[in-house]
Symmetry: C2
Amino acid sequence: MENLYKNYLLELSFLGTPFHGWQYQPNIPTIQGELLKAIGKLFKVEWVPLVGCSRTDAGVHAEQFFANFKVDKFIEPYKVLKALNGMLPREIVVKKVQLVDLSFNARFQAKGKIYRYLIWNSKIRNPFLLDRAWHITYDLNLEKIKEAASYLVGKHDFTSFAKNEEGRNPVIEVEYLTLQKEGELIELRIKATHFLRYMVRRIVGTLVEVGKGNLEPTDVKKILEAKDPTKAPFNAKPHGLYLHRVFY
Amino acid sequence: MENLYKNYLLELSFLGTPFHGWQYQPNIPTIQGELLKAIGKLFKVEWVPLVGCSRTDAGVHAEQFFANFKVDKFIEPYKVLKALNGMLPREIVVKKVQLVDLSFNARFQAKGKIYRYLIWNSKIRNPFLLDRAWHITYDLNLEKIKEAASYLVGKHDFTSFAKNEEGRNPVIEVEYLTLQKEGELIELRIKATHFLRYMVRRIVGTLVEVGKGNLEPTDVKKILEAKDPTKAPFNAKPHGLYLHRVFY
């Protein structure tokens, strides 16, 4: 009977501010919950298994995000796109809908991701970046942060920088970890094969400690080598984090 | 007694979304109202004459905005900055405070301004530009808009594009009016000596009609020459408009 099912892949984008993260929670606005409600209404089903490419924390944004669900009814993809966008809160948008092979899984088949992290490094807050960048008033030393970041590039065991509650492989290939500053805005980009829970936020939090002078760049190397999650208890604010690209 | 007074000039920036425009209205959140409240508390005065460089409509943003007020008490400018930022809603920020000559008036001494207008021209909404750009799903013809815009550059009587309720001089020198498109984002910039009420929004609204094919580029020339405000009843959404720079 399996072949009566269709596998719909949604390409999404969302502003994380009004939501308590991706994962469904009863009576709390979440991205998965809003999607399940809209999909349920459209396909007239009570529930579908909706798989997201990652579990974003409360307040985290996604410029690109993929999710798939299987359902035994057929509605033209362009109609699904239009109908879902009409029902979803305006902070969530469906950019593309396509039918994919039944074996496709948005989470397990992701081959890589890019995250961006924004820091507004200024004495004065920026009204256009409220909830969209971490505001740090302390003047960060970018050269020290860059040195510290260099120790994290390559294939390493990232146990120290994560809460690996799902028992995923902590050995991760970080393809790049770059920093750019334009005016008072610092943008950090990190590309890796996969990420552990809190990994980007803990890396950014630790790098900010280096930028403030509370840690030396070489301390980051030591923390990495310790493979001990208690060594990097520095969690950057969620609202500066953007899932930027997902690769399959 | 005049020389007991100090003239404080504030450089501001604000996200217009939560406010009903610049101008004070009782019991309604406005930018001027929020500033008057904070200044009143800080200087322990009931009211000060607070002059803004322009009267922005509800929902309009300012990347730069100037306002000045005179008061017969002295508080160090850096303390004024810190105190006001601590009391103001987070969407309003004071970037700089300085003492200026008593004759300085933020409104009447402005020599020029640049406004930006953002249009998100896409079938699909952009969650990061909600309340920050006008979402137009119709695919606009940029070449036609550029031709229409060219008729507005230079010194003209802009009576047709304004609600000139304050009887200001309708002859305005538009130094430039440029359009740029990056992906699905269109940015329009206009620099002029001064602006009449609704002028930028009506210019953008009329150009969008050209972009949709409802008006020909040469119609804009005819509307301009008619000097009749009923000829351009096309008002672009306020939330795409940003006061970008003010020159003195």
